[in-house]
């Protein structure tokens, strides 16, 4: 059964690119444009992995991450943070809050994003 990836990202252009790549690699994809919708979709779709952007409108990415990890029903789902900030403090904060990995959007290729997704999923078995 194909794994479901939920991508929480408000930049439609970027979101559609990642969506296309994930589907071409055989994943099922669920999408959310902000934190609130994201949390709702987690409960609905029960994804195997979450790609979370940190710069979101309304509730920010860190708060979403916190909520995901605090809820026992969703805490076990691995989260990979996608961000443009990439400062050391942000990376550390994300990992501290329980993210499984961190990706800086401007520095990775689509293949590398897929590789990280596969690695995190494998680790989480």
């Amino acid at each position: 059964m194909p794994k479901t990836i939920l991508i929480i990202e408000d930049d439609e252009f970027f979101r559609d690119l990642v969506d296309k790549k994930l589907i071409s690699e055989g994943f099922d994809v669920a999408k959310a444009v902000d934190g609130e919708e994201g949390i709702k979709k987690i409960k609905e779709e029960k994804p195997d992995l979450i790609l979370l952007d940190l710069l979101l409108p309304n509730i920010d990415g860190f708060e979403v991450l916190e909520r995901i990890k605090k809820d026992p029903a969703t805490a076990s789902i691995p989260v990979i943070i996608l961000s443009n900030l990439g400062q050391k403090e942000e990376v550390e904060k994300g990992l501290e809050f329980g993210a499984a990995d961190f990706l800086i959007k401007a520095q990775f290729t689509s293949d590398e994003i897929i590789e990280k997704v596969k690695n995190v999923l494998a680790k989480n078995r």
Binding site: F13, K21, N84, S110, D111
Partner: protein
């Protein structure tokens, strides 16, 4: 770490203590010599003055800090926002190149590759811009790693070799006889410092001149020196040299491009590392710039 500088309140309270003490002493004198009524009147006047001073101080120290802070934050945010669409652009080009949107011919591949590289360049330029803004404002953290200053100077010297040869400048880099141990430094930023000093030396030295650089261990630490035979800095302009946007009058006259930011950033970085930077210069003879980095955190 240094982010606190921007948003913390200035301790201007010291400026109230002085007048307050004086007022209390006068009050006591009044009480002792002129009787109670006079003393009470003075007490009321004094309280009014003190409240006025406190009020003025609060207003004065609050506004500049806040607007300075918001300015830095909004500049950083604006620069970050430049990166957002670029990430999408870079990714979409990369996916086009990988054939994710269908097969592409050689000509298409070629043009896409070039566009991809340009988008990548743009991202790096924005990162540099972000660094510059932060360094300028003194709002940055040092990323300390064991660094060899020798290697940094050598790589910067190599980078400028072509320009040095073009201007027929005699160049020398004297290293200490024994390899120096590595020091905990922010490699990227120290490289910026060395680049800036080399850049200035080459820029303001005429064709056929000479540039000599030295690296040595002194009692105070690691000292770097770069001596050029260039236009020098006029004596009356020397004390302003490290200020932002300052360019000496003779430098401006040469019509050589310069933003005037380099040395202020350079000084900022050296100071952040607890080092010192200074220079000697004589107009039309040349300048020698020095910086010194303490080796208290030496790595064996």
């Amino acid at each position: 770490m240094k982010k606190e500088n921007c948003c913390s309140k200035k301790k201007g309270w010291a400026f109230i203590i002085g007048p307050l003490v004086v007022l209390i002493l006068i009050e006591l004198w009044f009480f002792a010599n002129l009787g109670q009524t006079a003393a009470y009147i003075l007490a009321i006047l004094a309280s009014a003055i003190i409240f006025f001073l406190i009020g003025a101080l609060l207003i004065k120290t609050d506004v500049p800090e806040k607007s300075e802070c918001t300015k830095i934050e909004s500049t950083s945010l604006t620069i970050h926002q430049l990166k957002a669409p670029l990430s999408g652009i870079k990714l979409s080009l990369e996916m086009l190149l990988s054939g994710d949107y269908g097969k592409i011919n050689e000509e298409q591949k070629d043009i896409l590759k070039k566009t991809y590289e340009k988008s990548d360049l743009l991202i790096r330029l924005i990162d540099d811009l972000l660094d510059t803004v932060k360094i300028n404002e003194g709002v940055y953290n040092l990323n300390l790693t064991p660094t060899s200053v020798e290697d940094i100077v050598q790589s910067v010297a190599d980078f400028y070799q072509e320009e040095i040869k073009k201007k027929n400048i005699k160049f020398e880099f004297q290293k200490p006889s024994e390899a120096l141990s590595k020091i905990m430094l922010d490699e990227k930023k120290i490289k910026l410092v060395v680049q800036n000093l080399f850049d200035n030396a080459i820029r303001y030295t005429p064709v056929g001149g000479s540039i000599k650089s030295y690296l040595r261990l002194t009692k105070k630490g690691l000292e770097f020196q770069i001596q050029d035979s260039g236009i020098g800095i006029p004596k009356d302009q020397q004390d302003k040299l490290f200020t932002r946007f300052f360019r000496a009058r003779n430098a401006i006259k040469t019509e050589i491009e310069g933003s005037g930011l380099g040395l202020s950033i350079t000084k900022n970085i050296i100071k952040a590392h607890n080092g010192e930077i200074w220079f000697e210069s004589k107009e039309n003879k040349g300048s020698t710039f020095y910086f010194n980095l303490p080796i208290s955190n030496k790595i064996k």
